[in-house]
């Protein structure tokens, strides 16, 4: 079983420290949830794990499958088995979902074997159709330009389609519930649940507890001031739902400021 291990992670953006010594281990096959108030560094963690160039790691380590993740570029991290479902997926005009996914699959194959000719068109069509059916998606999405003119719900489902097609070992879902109504939320959550199992570890980053009604976490962590301050089981999320974040702030205010 692979593990994503984060040790004492410090991250700055534009010289301002956002993550201040974060420790976390996400195992393949487990679902972890990180909850926390806005501005606490949840998205910074997501982007840093995926290698966004704007985020500067000033201290700490990230290890996955024996590799020092911090030494890898974003595309290398992806091919190693990490995946980020973006909070705000960008549009790529002129590039269809199908063309994009085929390129992503072929990049993986060529990294394994530089002489690889790429996935055959029939094989790819079958795979994509199968994944779209699993997520109950209309097949017409394959021919649309990636995220271009997509509604909020369509964008999030397209992220989950990518997750389903690329089969990573650890997936980070960054506020995947934001901007979704309850029906769209259920559809996206069903998609994630169809993919979870022993092969996939998930890190769900969310502000609200409601997503965790649909995606049941094994572990829940509370993040505050750039650190994880509390960890527990699913009960912790329910407790937050009832009590809000104030008790956490009160309990940890001194240590984080």
């Amino acid at each position: 079983m692979s593990e994503l291990v984060i040790k004492n992670l410090h991250v700055s953006i534009d010289g301002k420290e956002i993550l201040k010594g974060l420790d976390l281990t996400v195992e393949q096959g487990k679902i972890h949830a990180i909850m926390g108030p806005n501005g606490t560094g949840k998205s910074t963690l997501a982007y840093t794990l995926m290698g966004h160039p704007h985020y500067e790691v000033t201290d700490g380590e990230i290890w996955f499958k024996g590799e020092n993740v911090l030494e890898l570029e974003a595309d290398e991290r992806s091919r190693l088995g990490l995946f980020l479902a973006f909070q705000y997926p960008v549009a790529i005009p002129g590039v269809t979902v199908a063309n994009f996914l085929r390129s992503a699959i072929n990049s993986r194959r060529r990294a394994e074997n530089p002489d690889d000719k790429g996935i055959s068109i029939p094989e790819f069509r079958k795979l994509l159709k199968d994944r779209m059916d699993l997520l109950k998606m209309d097949h017409s999405v394959a021919g649309r330009y990636l995220n271009d003119g997509f509604s909020g719900g369509e964008k999030k489902r397209a992220e989950i389609l990518q997750l389903a097609t690329l089969r990573p070992e650890i997936a980070i879902l960054d506020e995947t519930d934001s901007g979704l109504d309850i029906d769209a939320l259920r559809i996206v959550a069903d998609g994630v649940n169809a993919l979870t199992g022993d092969d996939l570890g998930v890190l769900v980053i969310t502000h609200y507890q409601r997503l965790l009604n649909y995606i049941k976490p094994d572990h829940v962590h509370i993040m505050l001031g750039g650190k994880i301050v509390e960890s527990g089981g699913p009960d912790l999320a329910l407790h937050l739902e009832e009590q809000g974040y104030d008790w956490v702030r009160e309990k940890y205010e001194e240590t984080v400021t």
């Binding site: 991290r77 992806s78 980020l84 990049s107 330009y145 990518q162």
Partner: protein, 447 residues
Amino acid sequence: MQEKPKITVTTSRTRRERVASDFTFTADLLPDGALKDFRQKAWDEFTRLPMPTTRDEPWRRTDLRTLPAGDFRLPKVDEYLDLPDIPGYLLRPLVSDQHGGQVVLYPGGSRVDLDPALVKQGVVFTDFRTAEHEHPELLAKMVGEVVRPQDGKFAALAASLSQNGVLLYVPRGVAVEQPLHSILWGPGAALAHIAHILVWIEDGASATYVHEAASPTEAGAHALHAGIVEVHVGDGASLRFVELQSWGEHVWNFSHERARVGRDASLDWIFGAIGSRLTKNFSDLDLVGEGATGRMSGFYFTDGTQHLDHDTQQNHLAPHTTSDLLFKGALTDKSRSVWQGMIYVAPGAQKTDGYQANRNLVLSKGARADSIPGLEILADDVRCTHGATVGKIEEEPMFYLRSRGIPPKDAERLIVEGFFDPIMQRIPFEGVRARFQEAITAKTASI
């Protein structure tokens, strides 16, 4: 330790002339034949007109001072036999499985094939010199009707000295199903390839025509192409016209082109430009008949130190006319592109609909794209819109693609392909799209 003062001496190796040197062609080069008078008049224009300078508005961004005009000579008869042969892929049909006819122009020679069934229908598709012998009256009636020698120095040069060219004539009401294909193959150094393309689609006729100009790059050398393309699309006629240029990067390429579209006629005009050292192309669409429609779609991709300047004009000269122009270009290295476009609506040309857009994607710091749209509207009941953009690849889409495992070069290529997709969507010919795709793959490989 004391540092020595650093002294840098910069000298210019090329002497900067205030104006470009002029050509050294002489009147005895004027060919005899049916167009003798036309050529002589054009020659008078050519000798009268000075070399353009950057003080002339259309030439403001394209500087000819380093053009070695005095070095060019016309090819000798059969000169192509001593030059690199045309590669086989250029001879293959581009827009269908086969073509109805093919004209290949070489330096000092040509080769013509035409389906006998088309000959029987009265279609003429041949090289210009043959046309001067075999169809003098037809030619005399049409030549210079659309592009006039006085349109510019290079138009006058091409009109007077054209060694070759193409005549395509489709008689009234004839629908040519199989596409027609011509290639101007211009290898060699110090040669002037001067060509006159004349396309005449009579009322109610239709055709698909592909004209391509190409040559291998001759490092350290110069060559010249000066061309005229004149197109007449008669009332109720339709033409799909594809022009591709992949000149070697030593070629100075100049052309004056104009299409005149008649009542309820339509023209679908596609340009692809990837070659040449420097290009100055004037392409005018004259919508002269009520209900005429013209679409212009341009693809260009420059690299190295290439300089491509496309000057387009959409002239709405009658009511209820429609024009739709989209030119898209990508640039790498230290290359430069200029697009300058104008929609003109004449007084009384009511209910016209004009659209023009130019989009550029600059892929390297040293490249530069200039995009200058323009409108001149002298009628009051019209709809005209335009847009011009110069952009670069943004960081967020790159990160998004890379986060899916796509390496940076492939991610860039994907974004460039996506950028060009709206042009590809306008091209109904798979072979042409494939050619553009090859250019994208080749030119993005060096980013």
